[in-house]
């Protein structure tokens, strides 16, 4: 891409110069065309999902002044007078948001599997296994993974029996404390990175006591359930506190940057108060807590996305496990093992070409494969979680394989040769040298593929998944709907309110989930690129 200014030469006529300018302008306009159209459509759908058109102008004026003024002042202070604060302020503002996303994921896990299951399996299987593993590893016993795995397996079997008759059933928030807060506290404490044991136990103690406070004491005054309070505490407050601790101990002068979430929160509250006092009519929000937690309904005001969200999570669990294991395995074979000569070499070539072609097969054809193979031939039910998950796994498998191949290929050959030179076998080299270096790239590709799977609709329609269900799936053989299917159903609804407001709320939820997955993938990619 030459930077030379060739137009500056002599002998070129004005016409030719104009032609070049017009062409460059056209090319620039073309590259923004699709993005601008999508941006406009997204703006429209957000306006509908939050019912922004219903609010009066006074409301907006109030919100703008209340929220804008403090935010602008703080932003001006940070960017103009103390530029050193910028990174701290941005990170503290983003951290709670990332925490909220994680909290949502955690909450869904506890909705899918009853807390009591967590309690039993954790206490009898996971905890003993981890403890045995850590104890053996501390003694540098090479059998640590083996023995730990054995203890875990025995515990798992015991837990499956025990689940039937648990004598005591602890309160949910106590279970959360035991299953989440205590191990998290130990993890954070072990990461605290000082040699004084006192400090580690202090940190663990603080987190656990905080968890008890969040679970037992606070909720009564703030009117949220103890479980929500504990999860929020763990995923938002603890990381924030951790980061604040780092900043204060290492670069004390940057502490004003830590105020950004407080400023934003206060400004948001001020904005709402001002808006409600000035404006008569606020926005008519459709995408709210009720929408996310209710089942489908024939009344627009009561309709919700909950069963579809849980359905999507169920499906994506299967897709993630199957496509990751099979996809990375296939990529390892193609990159590390596959011979290039002889008959097996021919087979390798066939596999490669085949993967490329599979990536181009329309998704609706995969739906027919799922219908013909899993439903008709293997006799699994129409439209159940398992069939949906397996069908979508096959669909994204080529994408996962191709991106994993690229990640593995980018590991320099020198490190492999070095590993062989030290006497490592092929599998040892792959496990200890190649995979650790390739894993960020593999994860990025897998997450992007999963975000495609979460929006797929046509294959699910083909395997007979219901476009709307009234109860969340409970097992892997339950009838399932998914977020895109529910949006599809609402798009055709006879009542115009469904098309105009409820479907947009679903669209925004689905896009939100998808874009956060993309953001995670891009973040991973950038981090990885910086390191190499």
């Amino acid at each position: 891409m030459a930077e030379t200014d060739v137009d500056a030469g002599v002998g070129f006529t004005g016409v030719s110069r104009l032609r070049g300018k017009v062409f460059a302008l056209l090319a620039r306009a073309a590259s923004w065309f699709g993005i601008v159209v999508l941006g406009l459509l997204l703006a429209l759908v957000v306006v509908d999902a939050f019912g922004l058109a219903a609010a009066s102008s006074g409301w907006y004026a109030g919100a703008l002044v209340g929220f804008g003024a403090p935010t602008l002042i703080y932003a001006w202070y940070v960017t103009r007078t103390r530029p050193a604060l910028r990174s701290v302020a941005a990170r503290t503002a983003v951290l709670p948001l990332a925490g909220l996303v994680m909290a949502g994921g955690l909450a869904v896990l506890f909705v899918i599997f009853e807390p009591l299951l967590w309690f039993v399996y954790y206490t009898v299987s996971v905890l003993p296994a981890v403890l045995v593993f850590l104890l053996l590893r501390r003694q540098e016993d090479s059998r640590a993974p083996l023995v730990g795995g054995f203890v875990g397996a025995v515990g798992f079997a015991a837990a499956s029996v025990l689940v039937g008759w648990v004598p005591i059933k602890p309160v949910t928030w106590l279970i959360l404390l035991w299953v989440l807060v205590v191990p998290f506290a130990s993890l954070v404490a072990s990461r605290a990175g000082t040699d004084s044991r006192n400090r580690q136990s202090t940190i663990a103690g603080i987190i656990v006591v905080g968890g008890i406070l969040a679970g037992a004491v606070l909720p009564r005054s703030v009117a949220v359930s103890p479980e929500v309070s504990i999860i929020l505490y763990l995923s938002v407050l603890v990381p924030l506190g951790w980061y604040a601790g780092l900043v204060v101990s290492r670069e004390r002068r940057r502490w004003p940057g830590l105020l950004s979430p407080l400023v934003l929160g206060a400004a948001g509250w001020l904005g709402l108060v001002l808006a409600d006092t000035i404006g008569r009519q606020g926005p008519d929000v459709w995408l709210d807590w009720q929408f996310l937690t209710s089942a489908a309904s024939t009344f627009p005001e009561q309709a919700g996305l909950f069963p579809a969200i849980v359905g999507s999570v169920f499906i994506i669990d299967i897709v993630a496990v199957v496509s990751f294991v099979v996809g990375v395995g296939a990529a390892i074979y193609l990159e590390e093992y596959a011979p290039t000569t002889g008959y097996t070499g021919l087979l390798t070539r066939v596999i490669r070409v085949n993967v490329a072609n599979l990536a181009g097969v329309p998704s609706v054809v995969y739906g027919l494969l799922g219908l013909g193979l899993f439903v008709n031939l293997l006799g699994m039910g129409l439209g159940i979680v398992l069939v949906a998950g397996l069908t979508l796994s096959l669909l994204i498998l080529p994408i996962v394989i191709i991106s994993a191949q690229e990640a593995i290929r980018s590991v320099p050959n020198d490190v492999r040769q070095a590993s062989y030179g030290m006497g490592a076998t092929k599998w040892q080299t792959i496990r200890n040298v190649v995979l650790p270096r390739a894993i960020p790239g593999i994860l990025t590709g897998t997450i992007l593929a999963l975000s495609r799977a979460i929006g797929e609709t046509a294959p699910l329609l083909m395997i007979g998944a219901a476009t709307t269900v009234f109860a969340a799936p409970e097992t892997f053989t339950s009838q399932v709907s998914a977020m895109p299917l529910q949006v599809f159903y609402w798009s055709f609804s006879v009542k115009s309110t469904f098309r105009e407001f409820v479907a947009p709320a679903g669209v925004v939820t689905l896009l939100g989930v998808m874009l956060s997955m993309n953001a995670i993938a891009i973040y991973l990619r950038n981090r990885y690129e910086q390191r190499t």
């Binding site: 891409m1 030459a2 030379t4 002998g11 070129f12 030719s16 110069r17 070049g20 056209l26 090319a27 620039r28 073309a30 590259s31 065309f33 699709g34 993005i35 159209v37 999508l38 459509l41 429209l44 759908v45 996809g327 395995g329 296939a330 074979y333 093992y337 596999i351 085949n354 490329a356 072609n357 181009g360 097969v361 329309p362 998704s363 609706v364 027919l368 494969l369 013909g372 129409l382 096959l394 498998l397 290929r409 040769q417 062989y420 006497g423 599998w427 929006g455 797929e456 046509a458 329609l461 083909m462 007979g464 895109p484 949006v487 599809f488 798009s491 479907a503 669209v507 689905l510 998808m514």
Partner: protein, 324 residues
């Protein structure tokens, strides 16, 4: 592809270890082979039921029939109206995606500053990643009212809105592959052009684009194949009426010339092969009926078309690539 020819063989005499090595190799091979099994499974699944369909309904009547009505008696399975629907959507989409996508690739590869590229490329990825059911919803709820302003005769479900959305969705397909092809053109060619006194416009259109032609053409074919296989946009926004255009006639210098009013094609509803598949799957999952089996016959047609296009695209990009 990596080769380790100097790999030392230190596993000799370690029985357990070599068993483990062999085990992992076998497992990974099995995973890789699973992709071939998938292809075979797709072909078999489609073939078995398609053959049953063609035993009940003549393939000639299927391929040349002009009436598609799988639900209404007397049933008729002429695929031409569906092929016509797919063709209209694909051609219209190509009219948007090909020029815009190519210009985008030119801009990204030749004109854009590094900072702009860093912003544009992830945004284009998002454009390609938005679920198609959402694009369909956009076409139905937001695009159709805009069309209505200009052409009041437009119906709620119409071909134009769906085709426009498919076109916008396929822009990134064209631009990303074309850009890779243009970026692969060596800088020495550009410098040679500048050395001869060419302008940036001349170098771009006279050197870079011709040198990258094979990649650009293969991106067009891939995008078209994607548009053919696109399902949800057309299912949501285009309606469910499979139909061929009404050919009227108009007088030109006293001669009767066959004439199709574009309004009857674009502003009314239509149906593509993919949308017909969804409709049958939604209405008739009992299995065994002719309509149910026709699902697999269309699926097979679709699979063969897209597979051929992908292969052609690969051949073009491999065989006609200019090596420097």
């Amino acid at each position: 592809m990596t080769q380790h020819t100097e790999e030392p063989d230190l596993t000799n005499g370690r029985g357990l270890q070599s068993i483990r090595e062999g085990f992992y190799k076998f497992v990974f091979f099995a995973f890789a082979a699973l992709t071939v099994v998938t292809t075979i499974a797709i072909i078999l699944t489609l073939l078995v039921d398609a053959v049953t369909f063609f035993a009940q309904y003549s393939p000639v009547a299927f391929l040349t029939g002009t009436d598609w009505s799988p639900a209404l008696k007397p049933v008729s399975f002429g695929v031409l109206p569906l092929v016509f629907g797919t063709l209209v959507v694909t051609v219209t989409a190509a009219f948007i995606a090909i020029p815009v996508g190519t210009l985008t690739a030119v801009y990204l590869s030749e004109y854009a500053a590094e900072g702009t590229r860093q912003v544009l490329k992830p945004l284009l990825e998002i454009l390609a990643g938005v679920p198609t059911v959402i694009y369909g919803f956009f076409a139905l709820v937001y695009i159709t009212p805009v069309i209505d302003v200009f052409f009041p005769s437009v119906t709620t479900f119409n071909v134009l809105s769906a085709s426009l959305m498919v076109g916008i969705m396929t822009i990134p397909m064209v631009s990303s592959i074309s850009e890779d092809a243009m970026a692969a053109v060596p800088d020495s060619l550009r410098q040679a052009g500048y050395g001869l006194g060419a302008t940036k416009y001349d170098v771009t259109t006279g050197v870079v684009v011709p040198a990258a032609t094979s990649g650009i053409v293969s991106s067009y074919i891939l995008a078209i194949s994607r548009a053919i296989g696109e399902t949800m946009i057309v299912t949501v926004a285009m309606g469910m009426q499979a139909k061929l255009p009404v050919v009227g006639s108009t007088e030109v210098f006293g001669f009767g010339v066959p004439f199709v009013h574009p309004g009857t094609v674009f502003l009314e509803s239509g149906q593509t092969m993919t949308a017909a598949m969804v409709q049958i799957a939604q209405s008739d999952l009992a299995g065994g009926t002719t309509a149910y089996n026709s699902l697999f016959a269309i699926g097979l047609t679709l699979f063969v078309i897209t597979l051929l296009m992908n292969i052609v695209s690969n051949v073009i990009s491999e065989r006609y690539r200019e090596e420097y």
